[in-house]
């Protein structure tokens, strides 16, 4: 109760407060300001000179992404770990995040990391997926965002367009930097002995997302497999779009252009299925399934082949075959290739690779349907006005003859 004690205590509170504030300032300096300066310096040195920023639409998409809490299930940061690199690709460099106000790194992954999401899926897939995720990915737990659409997935509102535009920017700057940019960053990093920093440049590919489609690329052969496992996988991963029996009527098919392949109306070679499951179909929503084991992909291939009912092939008179060959050479070979291999001279111009008839044989009905109506969402045009009925049928039969022929 004496004044001495009171003064001592008050002084001690003041000292404590000052020390405490000093501790706090120290923490901000050590873990905020100093790392910030290092990162700023790294960004300056390692960034390409004119990295592509975000357009107005992409920035608005970023706001949608932020307000919906996307970052709370999808991180945007590939860590410097081999497990992260194997799934998602090159670890995130500081300069890649220079336009992120505020950052969206996230601390939880219910869905996969999205730092390299750009280019993995086409726009129509994103719209269909945002509108109703489980229409495409049966076991997804992602929220649906119908409020970004006018009643269906192919009627996106501006907000949905902005959001998808933003998703396409994820990982874009680094991809645009190209090998030259990587080399520049590596030199600027000047860290040959820093094992961890080197990891940023050591991923097998910048984007390792196993769903990312590739236009070209060899696929490993498929081992033999059992049907039961295949049916289970098909039900979980494929039926949403391709339909329960491969008839292409799954709920996910509605918003996709082109429509998912009708698996019951085509005969596929094992090589073709192996290729598609490994690389996806570039230009369509058919993703790659490289994250499935070889056995699982083989099991799926077997299930897909089982949807097709073999038909007795009619023996065609020579004049029909000749007519078909003439029509094909004049109208089809530019895209589908002289020998039906989907490798015509115009291929590079097309968004989606034309059908390779050596690995894919449509039923007569399907072949005629495609010739008459064209294929929506691809550059396959309807030929009804340009070819006579006889020519259409002849060509429809003719293309089926390529199946199984060697390269």
């Amino acid at each position: 109760m004496n004044g001495e004690t009171g003064r001592f205590l008050r002084t001690s509170y003041v000292v404590a407060s000052v020390c405490g504030v000093a501790f706090f300032v120290m923490s901000v300096a050590l873990l905020g300001i100093w790392p910030g300066r290092v990162l700023e310096d790294e960004t300056r040195r390692m960034s390409p000179e004119h990295p592509l920023g975000l357009s107005i639409s992409e920035q608005r998409g970023r706001v949608v992404y932020s307000r919906e809490g996307c970052a709370y299930c999808h991180s945007q940061q590939v860590r410097y770990l081999h497990t992260d690199m194997a799934r998602f690709g090159a670890p995130t460099l500081a300069w890649e995040t220079r336009f992120d106000y505020p950052h969206l790194w996230g601390t939880r992954r219910i869905g996969p990391d999205l730092a390299r999401e750009g280019g993995v899926h086409p726009e129509d897939w994103h719209f269909a997926h945002l509108y109703a995720p489980r229409n495409l990915v049966a076991d997804s737990v992602m929220p649906a965002y119908p409020s970004l659409f006018d009643g269906s997935s192919d009627r996106p509102r501006q907000e949905a367009r902005d959001l998808v535009a933003y998703l396409e920017t994820l990982g874009r700057a680094r991809e645009l930097a190209g090998p030259e940019g990587e080399a520049r960053a590596r030199t600027a990093c000047n860290c040959p002995d820093d094992e961890m920093k080197q990891m940023a440049f050591q991923a097998a590919a910048l984007n390792m997302n196993p769903a990312r489609t590739r236009r070209q690329g060899a696929a490993p052969p498929l081992p033999s497999a059992g049907m039961d496992r295949g049916r289970e996988l098909y039900a979980h991963d494929c039926a949403a779009c391709h339909g329960a029996r491969g008839e292409a009527g799954g709920p996910g098919s509605a918003g996709l252009h082109p429509k998912p392949a009708n698996l019951a109306a085509h005969e596929y070679s094992n090589a073709r299925l192996s290729y598609v499951l490994w690389n996806g179909v570039a230009g369509t929503s058919m993703q790659a399934w490289r994250d499935l084991s070889a056995e699982d992909r083989a099991a799926l291939a077997q299930v897909v082949r089982s949807f097709y009912t073999p038909q007795t092939e009619p023996a065609l008179p020579a004049d029909i075959t000749d007519l078909g060959a003439r029509v094909y050479a004049a109208n089809c070979s530019q895209c589908h290739g002289e020998h039906g291999g989907g490798d015509g001279s115009a291929v590079a111009e097309l968004r989606m690779a034309p059908t390779d008839f050596r690995g894919t044989r449509p039923t007569i009905a399907e072949s005629l349907r495609a010739l008459r109506n064209g294929v929506e969402g691809t550059q396959m045009a309807p030929w009804t006005g340009r070819l006579s009925e006889a020519e259409l049928s002849a060509a429809a039969y003719y293309v089926r003859g390529f199946f199984g022929k060697p390269q």
Binding site: F8, L39, S66, V141, P143
Partner: protein
């Protein structure tokens, strides 16, 4: 009350019981709303197309409102309620102004929590953890915190002060540092991009828990234990050591939220080291608290003390868990998984909520005109205890399962499929937890008025006790 009767038996300052009551009730109402957000979010992981997916009910917005509501609504109000009771008793002086108290109450609930929730649901928010309320709301948070400093801190610095309580230190530390740290987490990442902003964000993620929630929860525990056991804290030396290490180490932890990121490795390693040392500090603090509790048992009869005791035990577990999961070998596996969600629930629902509930029960008993239902609080304790254990165990296992699948070559979706049974159990754990919170509400709104005082008579007694003042206070006043 017992604390003050010793030093200021002649002039015990009036506790503003109406402000205690208002904040206490607001705490429980906002708690129930926040828990509803959490339960809805957990249900949406099982039934993602709940109620036709209206935008305001989407998972991300519920998640934002859940954590912000728990931190600001529930814990914020509960801490204020406790401060209105504790500060006059700790200092022997009244708080600055009742009028100011009404302003703080209004700001906190009607300019921060309520509009924050509505704005988030309407799509206005920022995607920063523990900082999801939009900037306009953040401005009011800072204003309210400054006013809280004006309200609660002057009594500590008045002339003629002769008592020193550990609780006071934590109160001062918490209020001062929250005001400093809050803008850093809420404003800086909007101005500093990407990885640089993330470094600041990481600091705040930890400071929100370390500089706001933890010190105030500890202030409650350090207050309730001596007040309810009627014995001083075991060792004032350990108290001081624990306090200083805590305020030294907690702010240095932040970067452990971004291990294996591009943030400089030396900063990451510094934060990981600080995280390990923090575990040591918590062992010191908890040892001191448990020694102070000796003789009271693991489940003391006094309900406030019982909540505080279990909070202490949760604090030990969650802190050691935190130290371990910050280590690189562990972090690379469990980071991003449900393990961390389990950890944060052990911290906020185990440690902090038990401390806050204990503090509320303690102060409620001492409002002579408040209704008090001991039976309901008894139920509340056991329901919450069971719920926390179930939820945290479940989520920890889920995290390990996810971590294992992510390290294998299995498709991503396998980890989502594998988590489903654990998510079902987690949603199930909401039943005892929500029931426990409803019982808490019943405990404070039903029963007879003044039943709390009778409860004190039956448990700890109300007679003044000479030896209750902490050792250092006696030493400082000449060893009287």
């Amino acid at each position: 009350m017992a604390l003050s009767e010793n030093a200021h038996s002649n002039a015990a300052p009036a506790v503003e019981t109406r402000l205690v009551y208002a904040h206490g009730l607001a705490a429980i109402v906002t708690l129930l709303i926040s828990v509803t957000f959490g339960i809805l979010a957990s249900v949406e992981l099982l039934v993602p197309d709940l109620a036709g997916n209206p935008a305001w009910l989407s998972w991300g917005r519920l998640r934002y409102d859940h954590t912000q509501g728990i931190m600001l609504g529930w814990l914020g109000n509960a801490f204020f309620a406790f401060l209105y009771h504790a500060v006059p008793l700790l200092t022997g002086r009244p708080v600055t102004s009742v009028r100011l108290g009404q302003w703080i109450f209004g700001l906190w609930n009607f300019a921060v929590v309520a509009p924050g929730w509505v704005l988030v649901l309407a799509g206005f928010s920022q995607p920063l953890e523990w900082a999801e309320f939009p900037l306009a709301v953040d401005a009011f948070v800072v204003l309210a915190l400054v006013l809280a400093i004006v309200q609660f801190l002057p009594p500590f610095f008045w002339r003629g002060l002769e008592d020193l309580y550990v609780s006071s230190w934590y109160v001062i530390g918490a209020l001062v540092f929250t005001v400093l740290a809050y803008p850093m987490g809420n404003f800086v990442p909007e101005l500093v991009p990407g990885a640089r902003g993330a470094a600041f964000s990481g600091l705040w993620i930890h400071d929100a828990v370390g500089l706001f929630v933890t010190p105030l929860a500890l202030a409650i525990i350090y207050f309730v234990i001596p007040a309810a056991t009627r014995r001083p804290i075991y060792s004032h030396f350990l108290s001081m050591l624990g306090f200083w290490l805590l305020f030294f180490l907690y702010p240095l932890n932040g970067t452990h939220h971004y291990v294996f990121s591009v943030i400089p490795m030396s900063a990451q390693i510094g934060a990981i080291t600080a995280s390990a040392l923090l575990g040591v500090d918590v062992i010191i603090v908890v040892t001191n608290l448990l020694l102070s509790l000796r003789g009271a048992g693991v489940f003391p009869r006094d309900i406030g003390l019982r909540f505080a005791a279990m909070s202490t035990i949760f604090y030990l577990i969650v802190s050691i868990q935190g130290s371990v999961q910050a280590q690189m070998a562990v972090n690379q596996a469990v980071h991003f998984s449900d393990w961390v969600i389990g950890h944060s629930h052990l911290a906020m629902l185990g440690f902090a909520t038990f401390a806050a509930a204990g503090g509320l029960a303690h102060v409620w008993q001492r409002i002579p005109w408040a209704r008090y239902n001991a039976r309901a609080l008894e139920w509340s304790y056991w329901l919450l205890f069971a719920g926390v254990i179930l939820m945290v165990t479940d989520l920890s296992i889920a995290g390990l399962v996810e971590a294992r699948l992510w390290q294998s070559a299995a498709p991503w979706l396998d980890s989502v499929r594998a988590a489903r049974p654990y998510w079902i159990v987690r949603t199930g754990s909401a039943i005892p937890i929500a029931a426990g919170f409803l019982a808490l509400l019943a405990g404070f709104t039903t029963g007879r008025r003044g039943a709390g005082l009778d409860e004190i008579d039956q448990t700890v007694g109300r007679k003044p006790v000479e030896h209750i003042a902490p050792r250092l206070a006696r030493a400082a006043s000449g060893g009287a």
